[in-house]
Symmetry: C2
């Protein structure tokens, strides 16, 4: 089936949507269709493949043997957001996981990567993680990223082709073009769980999120595995808003943490228990203390744009998310001395805001 007929079928079945960014029309798949994953983007009928979900293993000893049939490469997993970068009709565009042009990342591409590689390889799709304190999507960021935002490349794909470049080929291209990339931790066999476990304490100390493991060969099997520190960071990041998160936000992470400790007792400590307690108590306690002044629980974001128009497009972009639950509210958009446009906005958590308002004013609950 040609992309053209696939797209019209997908549109008909409501599995694809027309979108527009600046003067660029594109189509994104809202569900997997015809072999293309959800989030696949069509630019003039050419497919930018969606970035597939990577399964998590919670036990390395069994998980590696079960999931991998061949040697695999270990790369650092970065706590940021996933983008795919392409060149299209002279424009460099960054697409989100769901297949939207991300106005923020697209605006900031010149700060993140030397796009020359896309001029000489126009078919390339660069997959990477954007992370740092200046990112507009995530509360929290890797502790060792002090730059406002960085892009770290972890995969290369091509237009119209499912699947990724092999790790060795990818590492060659990354070196050749001096691309910023996720740290690489070596090649392992499925029976080498202990060798992977030996890497973890150093990652955990540095507050690294974890590892992504990528099998060699045609299956392109992948798996991810995280550190205790990253679980505590995740919980702390949303500690004041846990009541606005899906129930599984907390219980999944707790299960992850416990299964890591079951397998790697050297990562266990009293300090970890104390920090988990702090992550749960401190952000919510601060929110409760501030509530009489703020009347709400919210997270503040400040992000910088090269062009005002992109900040405005970003505002439109975040206002498309369902606003019934957590909602975003713009505070200011002002030009900085260096010519960048600084957007400040907040994500408001209505459930915990309401609960605190009720209880701090003496309300009663029957539970």
């Amino acid at each position: 089936m040609t992309n053209e007929s696939l797209i019209s079928q997908a549109l008909e079945k409501k599995k694809a949507k027309h979108e527009r960014f600046a003067e660029i029309d594109y189509i994104r798949l809202t569900d997997a269709q015809g072999g293309w994953p959800r989030g696949t983007v069509f630019l003039n009928n050419r497919a930018v493949p969606g970035y597939p979900s990577i399964g998590r293993v919670l036990n390395l000893e069994q998980g590696l043997e079960q999931q991998f049939y061949a040697p695999f490469h270990a790369e650092e997993k970065i706590d940021g957001y996933n983008v795919r970068i392409v060149k299209h009709e002279g424009h460099y565009l960054a697409f989100s996981r769901g297949g939207f042009v991300c106005p923020f990342t697209t605006d900031r591409l010149p700060d993140l990567i030397d796009t020359d590689i896309l001029d000489s390889h126009p078919d390339l799709v660069i997959c990477g993680e954007v992370a740092g304190p200046g990112n507009p999507y995530l509360e929290g960021h890797p502790p060792d990223i002090s730059d406002e935002i960085v892009l770290l490349v972890f995969d290369l794909m091509r237009f119209d082709e499912l699947g990724f470049f092999e790790t060795t080929e990818k590492l060659n291209i990354i070196r050749q073009f001096n691309l910023p990339a996720v740290p690489y931790h070596g090649r392992f066999e499925p029976h080498q769980a202990q060798q992977i476990r030996d890497i973890l304490p150093e990652l955990d100390d540095r507050g690294v999120e974890g590892l992504v493991l990528k099998e060699e060969g045609a299956r392109q099997k992948r798996a991810k595995y995280v550190t205790p520190a990253s679980v505590v960071q995740d919980i702390r990041a949303m500690g004041d808003a846990l009541m606005d998160m899906p129930a599984e936000y907390f219980t999944n992470r707790l299960l992850r943490l416990v299964l890591i400790l079951e397998e790697s007792p050297q990562l266990d400590s009293s300090q970890l228990r104390y920090e988990l307690g702090c992550a749960l108590i401190d952000p919510l306690l601060e929110a409760a203390r501030n509530h009489p002044a703020t009347h709400k629980v919210s997270h503040h974001f400040e992000c910088r744009f090269r062009h005002r128009i992109n900040a405005e497009r970003f505002i439109q972009h975040i206002s498309r998310a369902p606003q019934r639950e957590i909602h975003s509210s713009v505070r200011s958009l002002e030009e900085d001395q260096d010519g960048y446009w600084v957007l400040t906005f907040e994500r408001v958590f209505p459930r915990v805001s309401g609960l605190l308002a009720n209880f701090l004013s003496g309300g009663q609950v029957h539970d």
Copy 2:
């Protein structure tokens, strides 16, 4: 409306059910009806009033002023299960919150209370909490109750009358009949939040669940307030089974804990954070370590009956609960040297059991 016509209406509307215990037929309200709360029991058309739910305040300073219009009495809140004890046709019966005869409590009444009071006051309904390590309903028990089970009386009612005895009258009767009762902490005014807060550190140190506050006068307004220690105990008790609990089990308790600390910083400590971390990690970690041998997560109960027939009725009673989720499974029923019948059973938590089985065997999850 007479009780008789109310009962037939309730049965017709499916808000009441016929039940049977031994040779005793009774009717219980599954919903509030005609002014009687859910759990009200009709014995030969005479009402044993249901025990109403008591609302929780999470901020004393505001909560007391908002909820109470008159002085109130503070009693210790015990972490057990609520029963109402009556005499009916020569039998002493204990009813659960939902209005079932509890075969366990009914069997053990001679060990719990001198029932003479019901012979001289046949209209009396004694309301109390049953707690202790030998109770068949709750994992965990107050740390200072070392007896297998105890009953602690906290309210008196009469057949066919809504509402409770005034606290002073109740305390007189408790003294007169030497009834075991919940500890009493005095009489306070709504503006005396600080005086209530001053009681809390001692309760918290002893691991007491908290306080129930009961207003004097016709409104019979009540409120409950808990200690940080009880929150951590609750979480520890279900720490290995959090994934089988409603999402709110954890988040409600976390909010309680934080609002207590917001108002009473003297109850806050590093130790509390450490203990919260332990309560979340340790039971689940132990369950994960035991899983290869046990293949499941379950809590074990051992409870003693005076009469074998009541143990059998209890088994029937617990098997009536919906078994799709947490389910009970009997292990043994044997006569002890002292003539008591010892029932051992377990509550199995299928969700966490399945998750551990999957992940410990190397399964992958996309989340």
